[in-house]
């Protein structure tokens, strides 16, 4: 953990320009990812996870604007690079598994050819024969070789997702950003792929930013967890610590609503209240309208940062917090 982190993000802020006004999707986010580390990013639908991921790679749509912030990859500010230099970083140094297959696979080319193309753009990354490498990648993500020469529309949802994972791994990047990469996979294939991903990461000392809404998957893959709410990271810390003793009331709510397959069939808990409107965010702590622990001060002022070892959260009234233990 010594030395500079692989990725250091400071104060990153992203707005979308919409007809109804400016939507602040990412709001002053800072975090680091060490070499070899896996950071799990969780949060409810619409909280800004994909926008954050796309901003790191500078793949946001034109209607978006990075208002401020820095994204340092080994000290190089990606936001300051020319478009050309940035292209050299993509796939090669940072690869992305998009939330949608649509954004990643071209419907008119065979899937295998698309992976070969990614490989050929970065010949330095892999010395192997590209066709051979594609077969190896297909094994890794549990896809049959006889689908290499087929088109995206001939793939099932989960097969496409696995092909995109294969493509992201093709050039052996330093950092892989995976945005909900297993939403279309059954638990057995998911299990297999997460294990393989873990093995490759250990072997190559690859870092990962793993975006998911699924707490169980986050628990499996992450060393460190960041919890996002309304564009901000509200809690951050070692996965074990965050899962054992969450500080933020929102993190606690995320954990308590986990439905079970085998245990007692209890009524599902939900977070009461509506998700925040990014065009009109609540004052003070953005979570206060839905928070069972909210007091007057939460409505008025942004919450302070509470620390417990390396774990921290932004909250006025961390529930049941025995201060620093």
């Amino acid at each position: 953990m010594s030395g500079a982190p692989l990725l250091a993000v400071t104060d990153l802020t992203v707005d979308y320009h919409t007809r109804a006004g400016e939507v602040r999707a990412v709001d002053g986010v800072s975090f680091t990812v060490e070499t070899g580390q896996a950071l799990g990013l969780v949060g409810e639908s619409g909280c800004g996870k994909s926008s954050l991921a796309l901003a790191l790679l500078r793949l946001l749509p034109e209607s978006a604007q990075i208002r401020q912030g820095q994204v340092l990859l080994e000290g190089v500010d990606l936001l300051a690079l020319s478009a050309n230099d940035m292209r050299a970083y993509r796939w090669n140094r940072i690869a992305m598994v998009f939330q949608s297959a649509m954004n990643a696979l071209d419907p008119v080319y065979r899937v295998g050819d698309q992976i070969i193309e990614a490989l050929e753009q970065h010949p330095s990354a892999v010395s192997q024969d590209p066709a051979e490498r594609v077969r190896e990648l297909y094994d890794l993500v549990n896809l049959n070789h006889n689908s290499i020469d087929r088109y995206p529309h001939e793939y099932s949802g989960g097969m496409k997702q696995r092909a995109i994972i294969a493509m992201a791994l093709a050039c052996r990047p330093d950092l892989i950003i995976a945005d909900e990469p297993t939403t279309a996979l059954d638990v057995i294939v998911q299990d297999r792929i997460l294990r393989e991903l873990g093995n490759i990461r250990r072997e190559l000392n690859m870092s990962m930013l793993y975006v998911s809404h699924d707490m169980a998957v986050i628990a499996e893959v992450s060393d460190v967890v960041a919890v996002m709410y309304a564009g901000k990271i509200v809690e951050y810390g070692d996965a074990a610590a965050v899962f054992k003793r969450p500080i933020h009331p929102y993190t606690r709510a995320l954990m308590s609503s986990f439905p079970s397959v085998t245990g007692e069939k209890h009524d599902l808990a939900t977070l009461s209240g509506e998700p925040p409107n990014p065009l009109d965010l609540p004052s003070g702590c953005h979570f206060h309208p839905r928070c069972p622990f909210a007091t007057d001060v939460c409505k008025e002022q942004a919450p302070p940062t509470v620390r417990r070892g390396t774990q921290w959260a932004d909250c006025w009234n961390p529930p049941g917090d025995e201060a620093d233990g």
């Binding site: 979308y16 007809r19 109804a20 949060g43 409810e44 639908s45 619409g46 996870k49 994909s50 749509p61 209607s63 939330q99 949608s100 297959a101 649509m102 549990n142 896809l143 049959n144 006889n146 001939e154 793939y155 099932s156 949802g157 989960g158 909900e180 939403t183 279309a184 996979l185 059954d186 638990v187 057995i188 294939v189 998911q190 299990d191 297999r192 294990r195 809404h213 699924d214 707490m215 169980a216 986050i218 628990a219 992450s222 996965a239 074990a240 899962f243 709510a253 954990m255 609503s257 986990f258 439905p259 397959v261 069939k265 599902l268 808990a269 939900t270 509506e274 998700p275 409107n277 065009l279």
Partner: protein, 340 residues
């Protein structure tokens, strides 16, 4: 709406859908050295019924044929063989392949699908309002102000609030989970008789997902909507589905009441599936899944049990016999396994 309620009460005993030996084989490209085109056996002789107001969960390995089955049920894919019989309770049960003209249009209203990838299923040039109102427009239901009210109401129900901030955005201006909820709103707005819901909540966090699941089950109870609910999430299946069908390589290998299957799975594939469910605790190290690894072979599979290559229980008889029939094995559910 009165019409729908009536439909729910009438003829409850007759299934809404009867699926008989449904089959879909896709050509898997041509190979010079073979005389015939190799075939992907996406769906192979699948039979089941769906009662009014019932929710049948369809689970199984990625690529096993769930989406293909669902699309055949709403006539988006023509089956290679077999048939789907639809009985709205009013007229005669009909094979959906024979529907034409106004009957087909009527069927399209009754039969909705929520696509697995919400990105693929929406026209990027239509606003969210137009997208959700489309089924109303196609079916000529309501005037514009009424449609606006209905769409606003649906947006609120699926948790896209405040609705006015979403109405006139375009699909690409939404997050993945928001788009998924637009797809749900669109399918439910016409109060259909049945919905094929293909992984409808896969991108949603537990809290939002729970709201959607409640909405869908309330509609099942209130309007008698039936669901074919495709999911890889067994916890979701548990809350949503009366029965579960487990598919493996184009075949249903186990089907029965949800609690039954989760409590005492009989097929070795179902057992493996249940053992692989992750738990939200980083200190728990789950044992690797018991079934053998390997990649499912969908192209021209041999006649024997589809699960043979990966099965921990397989013996010689499994190899020499045909794929096992679905039958009772001393339990409530039907299982296709010689060893169960």
């Amino acid at each position: 709406m009165a019409e729908t309620a009536q439909r729910a009460s009438a003829e409850d005993a007759r299934p809404l859908l009867t699926v008989e030996r449904l089959r879909k084989h896709f050509p898997a490209g041509k190979t010079r050295f073979r005389r015939h085109t190799p075939l992907v056996h996406a769906v192979d002789d699948v039979s089941f019924t769906l009662a009014r107001g019932e929710s049948l969960g369809l689970v199984g390995e990625s690529g096993c044929g769930k989406t293909t089955t669902g699309k055949m049920l709403v006539r988006l894919i023509e089956p290679t063989a077999g048939r789907v019989v639809f009985d709205d309770g009013a007229g005669q049960p009909t094979d959906i392949a024979t529907l034409r003209g106004k009957h087909l249009k009527e069927f399209r209203r009754h039969a909705q699908i929520i696509f697995q990838d919400p990105y693929e299923s929406m026209n990027p040039r239509r606003t969210i309002f137009d997208t959700i109102a489309e089924p109303l427009q196609v079916q000529k239901i309501g005037a514009l102000p009424e449609r606006l009210d209905r769409v606003t109401e649906m947006l609120a129900l699926v948790g896209l609030t405040p609705p006015r901030t979403f109405l006139f955005r375009y699909p690409h201006e939404l997050s993945g989970g928001q788009r998924q909820r637009v797809a749900i709103a669109r399918a439910l707005i016409v109060e259909p008789a049945f919905v094929v819901a293909d992984e409808p909540t896969s991108m949603l966090d537990v809290s939002v997902r729970t709201g959607i699941m409640r909405l869908m089950s309330d509609l099942a109870a209130g309007l008698g909507i039936s669901y074919l609910y495709i999911t890889h999430d067994l916890a979701v299946a548990r809350y949503m589905c009366d029965r579960i069908a487990v598919m493996y390589l184009g075949k249903i290998v186990e089907i029965g009441a949800t609690e039954e299957i989760l409590r005492s799975p009989q097929h070795p594939y179902t057992q493996a599936l249940l053992s692989a469910v992750p738990v939200p605790d980083p200190t728990v190290e789950r044992p690797p899944v018991t079934i053998k690894g390997g990649v499912a072979r969908q192209v021209d599979p041999p006649a024997r049990c589809r699960f043979f290559d990966r099965c921990p229980l397989a013996d010689d008889s499994c190899e020499t016999n045909d794929h096992p029939p679905l039958e009772h094995k001393g339990q409530e559910q039907l299982v296709a396994c010689y060893k169960a």
